[in-house]
């Protein structure tokens, strides 16, 4: 049990990968973990596209960068990004962060991942978003347990204007939807854990916002 929690707690979103081939056997183990996820009515709506072709990865990275770049440029010009980074005092670091976000570089790394597994799902089920999300999480954990790094990159599919391009690129038929491209590779970075809200802050008893007396 502790092993499972350790795997959950040590998983990170990895955005830099070693140039190292990932054998098919490992990808199959990852997909096997997704295959055993729960789904409403056991609908198993998920379908997984393994992408290794550099041209396709480059196209996905470009669409991802455009989506992120637009979104963060809007944040920058309205001053919201500056508010978000208020606590970062170093002007050089701040400028670097702004450039990384507004250029879309924050998502373009998708093109450099050795493998992208694109999680798709058929829509003719009752709980498609939940099913796809649970399968994705199972896969992230399995990849981590196998020593691989992953990052869910929704940038190329969150906006409809981009989504339709990716649907065309990957020849997704009507009745199916892309949920998330997942970048996979051997980690070439080891980021620190991101801050987490405390258990007390997120746990209520019997009704919303009711806490134990000692937690106040």
């Amino acid at each position: 049990m502790d092993d499972l929690l350790r795997i959950i707690k040590t998983r990170r979103s990895i955005r830099r990968y070693k140039d190292q081939y990932i054998p098919d056997e490992l990808l199959e183990r990852i997909i096997e973990a997704g295959r055993w996820s729960p789904s409403g009515d056991n609908g198993q709506p998920w379908r997984f596209i393994i992408v290794r072709d550099p041209k396709t990865k480059k196209a996905l990275g470009k669409i991802a960068a455009e989506g992120s770049g637009r979104r963060f440029t809007a944040e920058y010009f309205t001053g919201r990004m500056q508010e978000r980074f208020e606590e970062l005092k170093d002007p050089v670091k701040k400028d670097k962060a702004f450039k990384k976000l507004t250029s879309g570089e924050v998502s373009s790394f998708l093109a450099d991942a050795p493998v992208i597994i694109v999680v798709c799902a058929k829509l003719d089920v009752w709980d498609v978003s939940y099913d796809a999300a649970m399968a994705t999480q199972n896969m992230l954990l399995m990849a981590h347990a196998l020593g691989l790094g992953t990052c869910v990159v929704v940038a190329p599919v969150s906006d409809m204007r981009d989504d339709i391009k990716v649907m065309k690129l990957l020849k997704i038929p009507y009745g199916y939807k892309i949920f998330a491209p997942v970048a996979i590779g051997y980690p070439d970075e080891s980021p620190n854990p991101r801050p987490r809200l405390s258990l007390e802050a997120i746990t209520f008893y019997e009704e919303f916002d009711r806490r134990r007396k000692n937690d106040r």
């Binding site: 440029t73 879309g104 969150s158």
Partner: protein, 147 residues
């Protein structure tokens, strides 16, 4: 003739459903709402300004908005639009009553869609502010060349 409140209720219900499914991300799922209309019109232009002007003309003539104006920041990237008496205002009023923030602006979607298509520029809505009393919306957008 069906009372227009029927369509208002249907659209606001659908917007509410989408918002409760996707939260803030509902905005990204709605960036093409309204673009079918403007795609049916012959919109041209050699500059963003001309494209805007031609889109607004169509919207005015079809009573989608009473008027729309804009100003640019000195950098030329941030555009602030003011839209008067848009036909979507009653929908937004109903949504506000139900705690759903405004996340769709079909007139701006149309304009940005055409700027993107004709001028090959990147476009994005930054924020939308609705003033029901004045019957006016302020929408800030960015228009820029993406590398």
């Amino acid at each position: 003739m069906i009372d227009s409140s029927y369509f208002r209720d249907i659209i606001s219900s659908l917007e509410k459903v989408l918002y409760y499914e996707r939260g803030r991300g509902a905005y990204f799922r709605s960036t093409m709402v309204g673009t079918d209309f403007i795609d049916r019109k012959l919109i041209g232009g050699n500059t963003s300004e001309e494209v805007i002007e031609n889109c607004v003309k169509e919207m005015r003539e079809n009573n989608i908005v009473k008027d729309a104006s804009y100003k640019k920041d000195k950098d030329g990237t941030l555009f602030t639009f003011e839209i008067e008496n848009c036909m979507h205002l009653p929908i937004e009023a109903k949504l506000k009553e139900e705690g759903v923030p405004t996340y769709i602006c079909p007139p701006i979607n149309m304009i940005l869609w055409k700027i993107g298509e004709i001028m090959d520029l990147a476009v994005e809505i930054a924020d939308i502010t609705v003033d029901q009393e004045l019957g006016k919306c302020t929408i800030r957008v960015v228009v820029f060349k993406q590398d």
